[in-house]
Every structure is written in structure tokens, then in C-alpha cells.
């Protein structure tokens, strides 16, 4: 009996040992490599399941409110043009996002343990061409100034004027001036005699990120005059952006009839008026058309010389920021686009079966559209041999190679995808400015979106391509109908295609970690989608 038990224990022991050792072998030899290969999946899963986030005091504090301003509205009331100097890049005065954080106290690792952070994001850099003014009514007590910093300065130390005034209901208490790499905070306060005085309070911490697109302002709150920010439930912000000029009033670049290298101008000579605000972009409340940017910046009156009156955006300092549910919208666009594509595929299949033979490129396209990428690849190879500069053939060939990579072993896939981008990039370079550009960029964008970003890092490039495709498509439509984007009412198919392009750009930007760009893309998709509904 005892011998039997001992034998049984020995065989159990042996089984457990070999089982454990075999598992250890599998983990050691294959497990670690496989873990690292899919580490981006595991880390995303971990971040999502644990809701990982950095303590807000390290990174600017909790967000009180986030505003997205329309892209492409950097022409004041629609009539201003940038100076022709090459330093002004397209969109360098175009504010696209304004984020107000809650004030932070007892922050770690920071130069100022008590601060208030405000972030601004522009469509492009450089930061050196901008003068930014933020006027803040911190308490809504109707006590403060309704004039610009320059206009209410008593001693003329500050030289400058944006040519505007502010809502009588919300006179500002603090003004923040950002230009020439410096940030300064001023307060408008009443003295004992009841007269309004302007006081310099402190310099801000200022940093620029994302190639100068983002401006991060940190206002130290040690000064007692600023501490009402801690208790403010609602603040009202006027956010103005103009061109920077070191030598002109208020560091705001003047506007003239005709733009020059160093001066902004009006788009048409007859649009010029000395009362035009020198503001290229202002943050507006998009929900209220009465206070749209155009309405605000054109509210000057040349008869009684009244300056344009600006209205603030309301920032709730204590409520949780409201985020719209975009997921349903994105899912709806994708669903509709997929359905419309399957209809097209059915039509293409019936057409191709009836059309029979065509040129090799036509046959390749038919094969590609029917999902036979192997046949398409072979046919396209023949086309490229005879026409090495055929941008469309190169683009489709690149896509085919990438699709081939998707069905290959890991090492071969890496090589094939890298090869596919050689063809796609060449095609994009050849197609620039030609009617084929849209097709070529669509191919490249689709490949960028399909390949894993952790390995190839192409998501951001894909997003740019999708955005470019949308612009090209809009241009194509406006040329056909001789209208611009604002005037044009899109057909259902046009709307769907444009919304799909922007939603795809959104997905790619999200993958690349570019939250602002992603939000702007989906906002544009929503705008087009809702048009004429």
C-alpha cells in the first residue's frame, strides 16, 4: 500500500515538474518576445482598464472648460489678409482651441506651486508672429474696464490698441498680454477715489509646444490681487489674436488697404476702414450666432466712430467639462459609408463583368475594386514597367503591396509595407497639383491608417492625407459649381464622403495621440453632416 502511494506521488511530482518546466520554457522562449511584440496592445488595455491619468497638479490642473474655435476663420470679420512676409505661415494666427484649467495649489516639481494655466492652440506656428490678448472678467461684478489695455492705460507706458471695446456687462479685471516671447498680467482696479487704474501684476510662465502651435500660459497666483481666481465660479474671457509688431501700438500689427511685407491688409481695397479691429481671430461662442466672430468684429459704426464691441465666452470654473458624445456620430458615418461602398462594389462588379477587356490599368482597377489584389498587383506591375511615371498606377500598386503584406509573415510584412510606401510616396510626389492627387492621397491615407502605428508610425501622416483629400474634394466640388465651402450645399453622397474623410482623419489623429487635431476633424465632419438638415 505504502509503495503504491509513494509511486503515485512520484509520478504526480514528475508530471507537475515537467508541466511547469514546459510552461516556463514556452514563456521564456516565446512569451517574452510575443509580449513585447504586442506591448502597445497591452499598455493600451492597461491604461484603459485602470483609467490611468497623471495627477492634474503636475500638468496644469483639471480642465475647467475647453473651447474649439473654427479653423480657417483667421481673417477677422472675413476681410483681413496676413502680411506677405514669409514668417506668417498659413494658420499661424488661427486660434483653434482654448483651454482653461482650474487653479492649482500646492503643485509639485513646479516653479510656482500656486498657478492658473490657460492653453491656446493655433493651426500652425510660429509663435513669434502673434500678439495675444486675453481679457478676463473674473467676478462678473461690472467693475473693471471695457476698453483695451492701451486705451485704459493712464501713463501711456503701454503702447497699443486692437481697435475694439468690450461688453458693458462684462468689463475685464485682468488682462494677459502675450507677445515677443513674454507674458504679462495686468489688473484694472479702482483706487480709493473710485478712478480706474491699471496695474502690472506679474510675468507669466510661458512655454510653446507642438512646433509653436501650442501656447501654454501659467499665471502665478501668489499675488493677492490674483487670488479671486480661486473663488471664482464663472469667469468671462475675451481672447484676441493679432499680428505682432514690436514698433506699433500695443504690439498689434496695423492693417492697411493693401497688405505689404510688414503690414496686414484688407482683401479688397474698398473694404478698408480705420475702425477695422486689428484682430485676425477672436474666440467666439459658436452656439450664439449674434456673437459670431464676423458679427462681433464688424460691429463698428463709421457714422458715430464707435469701435467694434466684443463679447466674452463664459467659462465655468467648477463644473465638469461637457464633452459631446461623438462616438455615435462616428459609428453612423462609418456605417453609412460602408453600406454605400458595398452598393458601389455590386455596381462595379456588374459593370466589370459586362465591360470585359479594357486597358491593363482598367483591368487592374477592376480587379482591385473586386478585392482581387493579387491579380491587380500583377497587372499594375506591367503598367508600371511601361509607364513608370503613372501616379495612379504607382499608388494602387503601393496599396496592393501593403495588402499583400497583410497576408504575409511578420518579417515579410514589415518589408512589404516599407516597400509600399516607396511607391505611394513617389506617386504622391508625381500627382501633386494634378487631378489624380485625390486618388493617390486616398490610397496612401488608407494604407497609413491600416498599418500598425506602433511599428510604422504612419497614423499622423495618414490623418494629414485624409484632411488634404477632404480639401481637394471640396475644391473639386466648388470648381464644378463655382461656389465656396460656406455657400455650397452638398449632396447626400458628397456629405457622406467628406464626413467619412474627416472621421478617418479623426481616427488617425487619435491613434497618433493628437487630441486637438482629432477634435477639429470630427467637428468639421459634424458641421458638414448637419449642413441643410
Amino acid at each position: 500500500m505504502n509503495t503504491h502511494i509513494t509511486l503515485h506521488r512520484t509520478s504526480t511530482n514528475k508530471f507537475i515538474y515537467y508541466l511547469g518546466a514546459t510552461l516556463t520554457l514556452l514563456i521564456s522562449v516565446f512569451g517574452i518576445s510575443l509580449f513585447f511584440y504586442s506591448s502597445s496592445f497591452f499598455s493600451t488595455l492597461l491604461a484603459q482598464s485602470l483609467h490611468l491619468h497623471v495627477a492634474p497638479s503636475f500638468i496644469g490642473g483639471e480642465i475647467a472648460q475647453d473651447f474649439f474655435d473654427d479653423a480657417g476663420d483667421d481673417s477677422g470679420s472675413g476681410i483681413l489678409a496676413y502680411p506677405s512676409n514669409a514668417a506668417f505661415k498659413e494658420g499661424s494666427l488661427d486660434l483653434v482651441r482654448y483651454t482653461v484649467h482650474k487653479p492649482v495649489s500646492d503643485a509639485k516639481w513646479q516653479a510656482h506651486p500656486e498657478y492658473w494655466q490657460i492653453d491656446l492652440e493655433y493651426k500652425s506656428g510660429p509663435a513669434s508672429v502673434r500678439t495675444i490678448m486675453i481679457y478676463i472678467d473674473a467676478d462678473g461684478d461690472r467693475c473693471g474696464s471695457t476698453e483695451t489695455l492701451y486705451d485704459c492705460s493712464m501713463n501711456n507706458e503701454i503702447t497699443g490698441a486692437e481697435n475694439c471695446q468690450f461688453d458693458q456687462a462684462h468689463p475685464w479685471d485682468y488682462a494677459i498680454q502675450i507677445c515677443d516671447g513674454e507674458g504679462k498680467v495686468y489688473a484694472a482696479e479702482k483706487d480709493k477715489a473710485g478712478a480706474l487704474t491699471l496695474q502690472f501684476i506679474c510675468n507669466t510662465e510661458l512655454s510653446f509646444a507642438k512646433n509653436d502651435k501650442q501656447v501654454i500660459i501659467r499665471i502665478p497666483l501668489e499675488n493677492k490681487q490674483l487670488q479671486k481666481i480661486y473663488t471664482a465660479k464663472t469667469t468671462y474671457h475675451y481672447v484676441l489674436t493679432g499680428g505682432f509688431s514690436k514698433w506699433d501700438r500695443g504690439n498689434f500689427l496695423p492693417v492697411e488697404k493693401r497688405r505689404t511685407l510688414s503690414r496686414g491688409g484688407t482683401k479688397k481695397v474698398d473694404q478698408y476702414n480705420p475702425l477695422i479691429p486689428l484682430i485676425y481671430d477672436v474666440l467666439d461662442d459658436s452656439s450664439d450666432k449674434r456673437f459670431s466672430q464676423n458679427a462681433q468684429l464688424s460691429s463698428w459704426n463709421k457714422d458715430d466712430f464707435t469701435k467694434a464691441t466684443l463679447h466674452p465666452v463664459t467659462v465655468s470654473m467648477n463644473e465638469q467639462p461637457q464633452t459631446g458624445n461623438t462616438d455615435d456620430f462616428i459609428a453612423e458615418v462609418k456605417k453609412q459609408y460602408t453600406a454605400s461602398q458595398s452598393n458601389h462594389d455590386v455596381q462595379n462588379a456588374s459593370q466589370s463583368s459586362s465591360s470585359g477587356n479594357g486597358s491593363p490599368f482598367q483591368r487592374a482597377l477592376t480587379a482591385f475594386n473586386n478585392g482581387d489584389s493579387a491579380a491587380a498587383e500583377q497587372l499594375l506591375q506591367e503598367v508600371i514597367e511601361t509607364e513608370p511615371e503613372n501616379a495612379e498606377a504607382l499608388a494602387y500598386y503601393g496599396s496592393c503591396i501593403a495588402m499583400h503584406g497583410g497576408k504575409s509573415s511578420v518579417i515579410e510584412a514589415v518589408k512589404l509595407v516599407n516597400d509600399s510606401f516607396v511607391y505611394l510616396d513617389k506617386a504622391a510626389a508625381l500627382a501633386q497639383g494634378t487631378p489624380q492627387e485625390l486618388t493617390v492621397l486616398m490610397n496612401r491615407a488608407s494604407v497609413c491608417a491600416a498599418v500598425p502605428d506602433a511599428v510604422f508610425g504612419k497614423a499622423a501622416a495618414g490623418a494629414e492625407d485624409f484632411s488634404k483629400c477632404a480639401s481637394l474634394y471640396k475644391k473639386e466640388i466648388s470648381q464644378e459649381t463655382d461656389t465656396n465651402d460656406a455657400e455650397h450645399s452638398y449632396t447626400k453622397d458628397e456629405k457622406l464622403f467628406l464626413a467619412y474623410l474627416y472621421v478617418s482623419a479623426y481616427d488617425c489623429y487619435k491613434t497618433a495621440g493628437k487630441e486637438t487635431e482629432a477634435s477639429l476633424a470630427v467637428k468639421e465632419a459634424e458641421r458638414i453632416w448637419k449642413q441643410n438638415k
Partner: protein, 392 residues
């Protein structure tokens, strides 16, 4: 048969190196150079171990030193490219661009469980040193090589590894103080964890980490910044340079590093351990003298504990010096389930394939290869481009 197993493992490692170093390095010259170097290193280590148990340890040392030096070259050059200096800028801080290293993990875990906030200004994901990424790596290493990380992978440990092998003779013997040093490390670890929780900030990273000198540091333009600077420079010179030279031990790793202490505590979850055969042990104490982490002392041997103390980092130095071959790697689960005696050729072959030392070395080296690939290839690319630039 043992040779066949060594060849097989080397081929498998070559496949890992080929994919992670050469393919991911886009077949560049630097990737080929580093890839071939790694394959050579692993093959030499495997065959050396086959001939003389423990003799492969020198290849581990070479790997760790190379990784540490090239990591710093690559890391610093990335910092200069991104921010123009090694100092942490306010832009990097506000954009959460401070790389999150493994040493920060034990400092952030307790505050995270209580407040759900990570008290470190790093990216959560989408960055080579993001919080989620490093936490995943920590989980993977905890369940595989455990504290073997410190002696096989840690890109800071390589500095001490190098300095501790500069002198030929040990000028300061800390063997008698091993227990006190271990107690100090765990005491300091407890202090760091509690201080981080109290201050809601990674206190070790902010004030003590000596490796800031070879990576990044806060600007020293304020009094606290200056004090922190004096502390970390002093700690680097004393614990990473001078004391390792004098004691031939890894003094920072075995006295101050909170991750080392934390990894010791979680090492029980790992697959491998080091065991001492008390029947074979003659009590010569060579192993205690050789241990760079002070994990073996007189008590360990005299009390016949059968394993090193908690701080063992599985470096293999004790195995190398043991003339009785009494120390070896073993499977953690085999403490209760003894290795069965091989009764036939099949079982003998099977046991050769399932040799714990081979598997541990493979696992630890794979970790090192994958962690080091981009840094070393980057550094080599920088060096090659400089050579090309000057030769023109």
C-alpha cells in the same frame, strides 16, 4: 546533446535578435552591427556555460555595461533634440514629457491605489517611456525574471557593473555588514514609499536619484533645485563611482534603489530562483564575497538556508565562483516539487531542454535585447554619423 540544445537556443535567440534589432532597425548598418554582437554574445555565453558552469557571467557583464553606456548616449541625444538640454523644461513638464522609468513604479503605486492619480508628469501612453508601457514591462518582468532585471537588463545598473570591475583588488570589505545594508535598503524603501504618499510626489526621483546626472534633471536655478543637484551629484559620485570601485559591489543597487527593494519583495512571483545545495556546500564563503548585491552572508551559509537572501538579483556571480558547483538556477515552483531523476534517455534529453539555467538566461537576455535595441542602434547611428562627418 547538450551542444545541440545550445545551438538550438542560439538559433532561437538569433531569430529574436533578427526581428527586434535588425528588422526593427530597418536593416541599417548599426542594427546589423549590434544584432551580430548580441548573437555572438549569447552564443559565447551559452557555450561557455556548457563547458564550465557559471563562466558565462562575463558576457552578462559586457552586455549590461554596453547597454548602460549606449542608453545614456541615446537618451541624452533625444533630450537635446527635443528640448535642447538635459534640464527639464517647463514645456516638457506641462506636456507630460518626462520619461517614466522603472524606479518611479514603487513610488507611484501606493498613491495611485488611494487617489487614482499617477504622481509623475509622464505620458500615460504613446511614448517610449510612458506610464502604461513601463507598468506592463514591470508586470512581465515580475512574472518571469523577477529581480533578475537588476543584473541583466537595468540600464542604470550597468554603470555600477562597470565601475565595480575597474579595480582588481577589493579595498573595502562590506561582507560583515551585509545584513545591516539589506535592512537599510528596505527601511529606505519604506521611507520613500511613505514620503511619496505623504508629499504626493515621487520623492526619490525628485531628490535622490543619482542617475539624473546621466539622464535629465530639474534646472538648478532655485535653492531647492540646487540642493537636489548637490544631493544627486554626490550620490552618483559616491554610490555609483567611488564605492563600487572600492568594494567591487553594486552599492547603489543594494542600498538605495527603491525599485531593487521592491523587485526583491515581488520576486516570489517570478519563474526562477537561485538555490544552494547545502549538501555540497563546504562553507568557503567565496559566493558571499562575490555577490555584488550582498545577498549571501555568513548566516545564509551557516544556517543552511539553501537559498540566497531576499535581495538576490540572479546575476550568477556566486555560481561562477563556487568550486563545489553547489549553487544553481532552479524553477521557483520546484522548491516544493523536486526535480525528478531521469530514468531513461528521453527524460535525460528532456531535462537538458528544460534546464532552468538555460531558460533563465534566455529569458533575461531576451528582455535585455528587446529593451536595448532602439537605444543602442540609435547611439551607434549617432556615432557612425559622427565618424563619417569627421572623416570627410
Amino acid at each position: 546533446m547538450a551542444t545541440l540544445v545550445s545551438i538550438l537556443l542560439s538559433v532561437l535567440m538569433a531569430a529574436v535578435v533578427f526581428f527586434y534589432v535588425i528588422v526593427m532597425g530597418n536593416f541599417s548598418d548599426a542594427a546589423w552591427v549590434y544584432g551580430l554582437f548580441l548573437i555572438y554574445l549569447f552564443a559565447r555565453m551559452t557555450f561557455a556555460e556548457q563547458h564550465n558552469k557559471g563562466s558565462g557571467v562575463k558576457y552578462r557583464r559586457i552586455f549590461q555595461i554596453v547597454f548602460a553606456v549606449f542608453f545614456c548616449i541615446s537618451f541624452i541625444s533625444r533630450l537635446f533634440a527635443e528640448r535642447g538640454s538635459m534640464a527639464i523644461t517647463s514645456g516638457a513638464m506641462t506636456n507630460s514629457e518626462i520619461p517614466f522609468c522603472h524606479i518611479a513604479i514603487p513610488q507611484v503605486l501606493l498613491p495611485f491605489t488611494i487617489t487614482r492619480d499617477i504622481i509623475f508628469p509622464a505620458r500615460v501612453s504613446g511614448h517610449y517611456a510612458s506610464i502604461a508601457n513601463m507598468l506592463c514591462i514591470w508586470l512581465a518582468l515580475t512574472f518571469t525574471i523577477g529581480r533578475g532585471w537588476c543584473s541583466w537588463v537595468c540600464f542604470y545598473g550597468g554603470w555600477e557593473e562597470g565601475f565595480s570591475h575597474i579595480g582588481k583588488k577589493r579595498r573595502l570589505n562590506l561582507l560583515a555588514k551585509n545584513k545591516e545594508i539589506r535592512e537599510f535598503q528596505f527601511g529606505f524603501f519604506a521611507f520613500i514609499v511613505l514620503a511619496s504618499l505623504g508629499a504626493m510626489s515621487a520623492v526619490y526621483c525628485e531628490w535622490f536619484c543619482p542617475f539624473k546626472l546621466v539622464t535629465e534633471f530639474s534646472p538648478m536655478n532655485t535653492i531647492p533645485g540646487l540642493i537636489a543637484g548637490v544631493i544627486f551629484i554626490g550620490l552618483f559620485l559616491s554610490l555609483v563611482v567611488v564605492l563600487p570601485i572600492l568594494t567591487k559591489r553594486r552599492t547603489q543597487c543594494s542600498t538605495l534603489c527603491p525599485f531593487g527593494a521592491f523587485a526583491s519583495l515581488t520576486d516570489k512571483a517570478s519563474l526562477f530562483s537561485v538555490t544552494i545545495d547545502t549538501q555540497k556546500c563546504k562553507g568557503c564563503m567565496k559566493c558571499a564575497s562575490a555577490c555584488p548585491f550582498g545577498a549571501i552572508d555568513a548566516d545564509t551559509i551557516q544556517l543552511k538556508k539553501g537559498r540566497p537572501e531576499l535581495t538576490c538579483a540572479k546575476c550568477g556571480e556566486c555560481i561562477h565562483v563556487c568550486s563545489e558547483k553547489a549553487i544553481s538556477y532552479s524553477f521557483r515552483f520546484a522548491v516544493r516539487c523536486k526535480k525528478p531523476e531521469a530514468k531513461n534517455n528521453f527524460e535525460k534529453t528532456l531535462q537538458l531542454f528544460l534546464e532552468p539555467a538555460q531558460l533563465f538566461r534566455f529569458a533575461a537576455f531576451s528582455f535585455g535585447v528587446i529593451m536595448s535595441d532602439s537605444f543602442v542602434v540609435d547611439s551607434l547611428n549617432i556615432i557612425f554619423s559622427q565618424i563619417t562627418h569627421f572623416s570627410k
